[in-house]
Structures are given as structure tokens and as C-alpha cells.
């Protein structure tokens, strides 16, 4: 399990948190209990299994619901 912190463009709409959360949770290999969408700092934090999914796939899932990914850090 690795932890990713994904910095997004600044989140402003009230419903975007739900949208991003659902998009990220739908990616297989993401530990759904760890997904956190942080509204004010506009970040997503999550744990994922790198054997099942790459961080790029997670980023793409976020892009598909319409949000720009600025920077990702994996620990």
C-alpha cells in the first residue's frame, strides 16, 4: 500500500467533493476507506495498492470527472 497526495486545481463548487470522491473510489485498487477529498486545500489523499493500479490511472479518473491534477506525491 502506498499513499498518494494529489493536488488539484482549486475546488470551489459545493458538489465537486462528492464527485471526486466517487470517481476515485470507483478505481479498483484504491482503498476506499482512506479516500479523503480536502475542500479548502484542494487535495485528494488516498492509499492504493500499486500492484493493482498506478497513480496515473487514479489521476485520469479525476480528470475524467473534469478536474485538473496539478501535482502528485506518492509515499
Amino acid at each position: 500500500m502506498r499513499t498518494a497526495t494529489i493536488q488539484l486545481e482549486s475546488l470551489t463548487c459545493p458538489s465537486c467533493m462528492q464527485k471526486i470522491e466517487a470517481a476515485v473510489k470507483a478505481v479498483p485498487g484504491v482503498d476506499t476507506t482512506t479516500v479523503q477529498v480536502l475542500f479548502n486545500s484542494s487535495k485528494v489523499k488516498l492509499d492504493f495498492n500499486e500492484a493493482e493500479v498506478s497513480v496515473e490511472e487514479i489521476e485520469n479518473a479525476i480528470r475524467r470527472v473534469g478536474y485538473e491534477v496539478q501535482k502528485t506525491r506518492v509515499k
Binding site: T12, S15, F39
Partner: protein, 617 residues
């Protein structure tokens, strides 16, 4: 294509706005005609496009969003050929989103400014001895770094060579320059005002003090209270519920206009962001003023505070004894002062330093035949005279007679918590000094402000003797003060306060009193940006100065109040809208959208007020 449309959202809003203006201009000049209708249709389509895309994107991940409600409402308006409403609703929705983005960035600005203080590059010494600019993430513990004048210190480290003065405002909140030389510790995020330093990296990145502060603030701004988590859960079902209700209304009443109006009115925007907006603005204000809150739960507890417990005398007092009062008896006082200084100069007694400081520069004499009387003082020959310096017991031993006046002074100073230093020359009392740990400057004003902020109980717990504790307590007007207390006893005392249902803040140094800090609802460690302070407390006062406490408390109260106002605005608006759609005839989709967007802006602007919050004197 989708991204292109979403990226141009602001431009689309502008285009749609212009078309609407054109349409109405056309109606007022030549009356409604085909141009009026076509301009509005075009405006609706332009405006609805990005909204529909967003709705669709969300639907793919099985989330029903406001975008979907608005999209369906616009389609409904098209079905009943009400292009005026469809155009205005989409425009307002987009324009509102634009304003929200602008204002939200403003509310977040305080924290963003703090985060941007983080150093990004460092001059690192390479194997050939040259310094090369590298990304701060590439610095490892043990690397040697060069910091030039005006540059940010990139990591926590130790100065290996050079000297200079550093502005540590980002860590301590104090912008006074601090001198650094070989062996000094420097902190990441501080700025070298002048000089050049070479430092060895001790801690890097998130492990630095500044890194921890940033992490704390970043986490705090998004931390959620129980109430917020409830709102979030509620919002998840609320939007789909509005959709279902809209359909039900349409099925039963066959009134499509009413149904789509309900869809627009039901948007829960202000409720979802009202509390986070207050939270981020309040925490941002604190971060600017040297107060770090560890999240909204803390703000809630802190705002209801009724008891502040200060750990040990040193928090309220300077921790260094000083002379509070000097009394002279008989003649030749100046001479006696010189004798006193001569003896104290050679002493390493803790009170001697305070006495010398109070006397200042005087003529001193060689001291002979010094005799230390244990627990009483010193007797010596100075300038051929027998001088005794010590407490009342020493005077008795030396057969010094005390006048009634001196007896009174003695009793009074002792009652005020002073240690006494008496000086007798040739068996005659000349000087009486009261020495005591001093109240820190400004502490009294701080406590008065706390009282004005409705803190009912100000308690001091101390390991010092009860006499000293009582004296400090009386001078400061504390409600309770207990001396001779061990750390376990302090924790026990906090527990008993909690059992009485009090909301307790514990102010301690973060080192010896972690049990008490953890027990109290609000732990406040006075460690000045040190790790311990940051990790153990719920509220961190950055420069270790309790002068920030009233601002922290006032801000917590203002923030908690602000959150309640925002919830009230959000819920109130929805209720009024729903009521008016049922019982009034002036409500339609456009007005509904206007009020809805207006309420979102209202909660953001209300939250923004917190950025300017200052405690009134």
C-alpha cells in the same frame, strides 16, 4: 472537447450574459420578436453546455449533483418554451460559480500565503565543494547548505560557519532579528536578513518545524466537526431527493414549470460550503497572528471555554526573581548599598543576581573574613565594618534590633510573597529588600481580556510554595491558585474540573505536563513553535506568548458564531424558497437561482469577515 468547454466556462458565462442583455435590449427597443427568442435560445445552449457536461461526468460515477438538477430544469424550460428562464438560470449559475471561485480564493488566501513561505530551493555543497542550486526536496540530512543574505533558510539545521541575523517571524510570530553564529540552530522558512551562513541540515522537508506547522494548518482547514460530517451525509441524499420530489410534483400536478422550479430551489450549495468557509477563514486569521488551531472541533470547544488552568508560576511570571521593593533605615544608605553589592558580587545565591541588578553601578570594596551562615545569609568584613546580609534569622543571630517600622515592612513584604534580603552594618539594620519572581509584563491585561471574553475561572497550579502562589494569585486576580502540586496532582485536578462539566483549557510548557494537556479539552503548549508544542497542543501559540491567548479565544468564538450564522443563512434560504414556491405566485426559476447563488455568496462573504477579525480592546 469537454475539457475545452469546461476551461472556457467563464467566457461562456460572459457570452451568455451578453446575449441575454442583447435580447432584452431588443425587447425594450423594438419589442419581442424572433431575435429576442433566438438570442435567449443561444444563451441557454451556451450556458447549459458546461453544466450538462459536468452533470454527465458526475452521473458516470453515480453521483447526482446540482448540475444535473439545473440541466433537467433547463431542458424542462425548453419543453415549455420558456427561453427567458432557461437563459437566465444558466447564466446565473455560471456567473455565481465564477464569483464563488474568486471569493473562495480570497478566504483561503491567509493559509495559502503561509504555505507559500515554504522554501523551494537550496544551495547545496556538491562533491567538488561548489554550491549548486537544487530543489529543496533533494536536500538530505547532513548536507551542507549555503544561505545568502535575503534568502530563506531551506531546512532546520546547525550553523557550521559564518554569522548573520535571522528573521524568525514564520516560526515564532516575532519579527525581531535573532543573531546566529557557529553552533546556532536555524529553522526552515526563516529569512536571513544579513550575513552569510553555511549550515548542516538536521531535519528536512516535512520533518522541519515549519513543515509541521504547515501540515497542521493544512489539515486543520479541512478537518470536520461532527455537525459537518452530518451535513455531508445529508447532502449526499438531499440532491437525489430533490430530483425525486421534482418528478413526483410533475407526475401528480402535471405542472412542469412548478416541477423545474423546485429542482432549482432545492440546490443545497450554501449548506455544504458554509461551515468549511468559516473554518478556513478563521484558521487563516489565526495563522497570520501566531495562533494555530488544530481543526474545527477545537474551535467549537474553545469557543465555549469557561476555565483556563495555568500550569506553574513561570507561565504567568518571568521565572527570574527580581527586587520588588527597597527600604532604607537610618543614615549612610549609599555606603550600605556599596557594602551589600560588594558581598553579593561574590555570591552565587539566586537572589544575589536580582539584588545586584537592582543596585546597579556603585563603589565596591574588598570583602574579608566571609562567613556563610547556612540557610540564613553571609557575614563579612567590608571596609573595616561588620556587614550581615541575609534573612530575618540572620539578623536575630547578629543581635540586630528591628524598629517597629522595619517590623511592619518585613511583615508586609513577606505577605506579598517576597523573599527578604536584610543588610545590617555594625549591628544596625540599613536596608531591606523584597525579592520575588515578577509577573510578566502585560499578563494582567491578558487575564482581564479573558475575563471579558466570559472565562469564569482562572486557575493556577504550581509546584511552588503556597505563599508565592497566593501572592501571584492576589496580584493577578485569579479565581483559584494551588501550590505544592506534582504533575499527577495537576492532572487529577483537571479531571475533577471536567467532572464538574467545565470546559477547560490547560496552558503548559508541553514537556512535563502532557497528561494535563491531553486531559483538558483544549491543550495549549507554550513551546514557541517547537515540535512538542505543535504535537501536543490543540492550540499552538507560536511565539510562546500568552498575549496571543485572548486573540485566540476571541477568534474561536467569532469563528464558531460565523459557522452558526452560515448554517442559519443556508437553511433559512432553502426554507423561505420552498415556502414561497408553495404559497406565493412571484417565485419562479430565475428568482430561485438568484437567491440560491446569492446565499452561497452570502456565506462566503460572511466567512471572509473572519479574515479581518481583531480583538477589540
Amino acid at each position: 472537447m469537454q475539457r475545452l468547454i469546461l476551461g472556457a466556462k467563464d467566457k461562456l458565462a460572459l457570452a451568455s450574459g451578453l446575449l441575454i442583455a442583447l435580447a432584452f435590449l431588443n425587447r425594450w427597443t423594438v419589442g419581442s420578436g424572433p431575435l429576442f427568442e433566438w438570442a435567449l435560445i443561444l444563451a441557454s445552449i451556451i450556458g447549459a453546455l458546461p453544466i450538462a457536461i459536468q452533470a454527465f461526468q458526475a452521473l458516470r460515477v453515480k453521483v447526482v449533483t446540482i448540475d444535473l438538477l439545473v440541466t433537467i430544469a433547463v431542458l424542462g424550460a425548453f419543453a415549455i418554451r420558456n427561453f427567458e428562464e432557461s437563459a437566465i438560470v444558466t447564466f446565473l449559475f455560471l456567473f455565481g460559480a465564477y464569483l464563488e471561485q474568486r471569493t473562495l480564493n480570497k478566504t483561503r488566501s491567509a493559509i495559502k500565503e503561509l504555505v507559500e513561505l515554504a522554501p523551494e530551493t537550496a544551495l547545496k555543497q556538491m562533491e567538488d565543494g561548489e554550491f549548486v542550486e537544487v530543489d529543496v526536496e533533494d536536500v538530505e540530512v547532513g548536507d551542507i547548505l549555503l544561505v545568502k543574505t535575503g534568502a530563506k533558510v531551506p531546512v532546520d539545521g546547525t550553523v557550521v560557519s559564518g554569522e548573520g541575523s535571522v528573521n524568525e517571524a514564520s516560526i515564532t510570530g516575532e519579527s525581531l532579528p535573532v543573531a546566529k553564529e557557529q553552533g546556532s540552530t536555524v529553522y526552515a522558512g526563516t529569512i536571513l536578513d544579513n550575513g552569510t551562513l553555511q549550515i548542516a541540515a538536521d531535519r528536512v522537508g516535512e520533518d522541519t518545524t515549519f513543515g509541521k506547522i504547515i501540515e497542521l494548518v493544512e489539515e486543520a482547514q479541512d478537518s470536520k466537526s461532527e455537525a459537518e460530517r452530518f451535513i455531508d451525509r445529508f447532502a449526499k441524499y438531499y440532491t437525489p431527493a430533490v430530483l425525486v420530489i421534482g418528478f413526483a410534483v410533475w407526475l401528480f400536478s402535471k405542472d412542469l414549470e412548478l416541477a423545474i422550479t423546485i429542482l432549482v430551489l432545492g440546490c443545497p450549495g450554501a449548506l455544504v460550503i458554509g461551515v468549511p468557509v468559516s473554518n478556513v477563514a478563521g484558521i487563516g486569521n489565526g495563522a497570520r497572528h501566531g495562533v494555530l488551531f488544530k481543526g474545527s472541533e477545537v474551535i467549537g470547544d474553545f469557543s465555549r471555554l469557561d476555565t483556563v488552568v495555568f500550569d506553574k508560576t513561570g507561565t504567568l511570571t518571568a521565572g527570574v526573581p527580581a527586587v520588588t521593593e527597597t527600604k532604607y533605615y537610618g543614615e549612610d544608605s549609599a555606603e550600605a548599598l556599596g557594602y551589600l553589592a560588594s558581598i553579593e558580587r561574590e555570591s552565587d545565591h539566586p537572589l544575589a543576581k536580582a539584588v545586584l541588578e537592582a543596585i546597579g553601578d556603585v563603589r565596591v570594596f574588598p570583602v574579608e573574613a566571609t562567613e556563610v551562615v547556612k540557610g540564613a545569609g553571609v557575614v563579612a568584613t567590608v571596609n573595616g565594618r561588620r556587614v550581615a546580609v541575609g534573612n530575618a534569622a540572620l539578623m536575630e543571630r547578629e543581635n540586630v534590633k528591628l524598629s517597629a517600622e522595619a517590623e511592619d515592612d518585613l511583615a508586609r513584604l513577606e505577605a506579598q510573597g517576597n523573599s527578604l534580603v536584610l543588610t545590617a552594618v555594625d549591628g544596625e539594620l540599613k536596608i531591606l529588600m523584597g525579592v520575588r519572581d515578577q509577573i510578566r509584563p502585560g499578563v494582567k491585561a491578558v487575564l482581564n481580556k479573558l475575563k471579558r471574553l466570559k472565562v469564569k475561572n482562572l486557575v493556577m497550579l504550581s509546584g511552588d510554595n503556597q505563599g508565592t502562589v497566593d501572592a501571584v494569585s492576589r496580584e493577578l486576580g485569579l479565581t483559584e491558585a494551588h501550590g505544592n502540586m506534582l504533575p499527577e496532582e495537576k492532572a487529577g485536578y483537571i479531571k475533577s474540573l471536567l467532572e464538574q462539566g467545565r470546559i477547560v483549557a490547560f496552558v503548559g510548557d508541553g514537556v512535563n505536563d502532557s497528561p494535563s494537556l491531553a486531559l483538558a479539552q483544549i491543550g495549549i503548549a507554550m513551546g514557541g513553535g517547537t515540535d512538542v508544542a505543535v504535537e501536543t497542543s490543540d492550540v499552538v501559540l507560536m511565539n510562546s506568548n500568552i498575549g496571543r491567548l485572548p486573540h485566540a479565544l476571541g477568534l474561536a468564538k467569532a469563528t464558531a458564531r460565523n459557522m452558526k450564522q452560515n448554517i442559519l443563512i443556508a437553511v433559512g434560504v432553502v426554507l423561505v424558497l420552498l415556502a414561497s414556491v408553495l404559497w406565493s405566485d412571484w417565485m419562479n426559476m430565475s428568482i430561485g437561482m438568484l437567491v440560491h447563488e446569492g446565499s452561497i455568496l452570502a456565506v462566503i462573504l460572511n466567512g471572509m469577515r473572519l479574515l479581518r477579525y481583531r480583538l477589540r480592546d
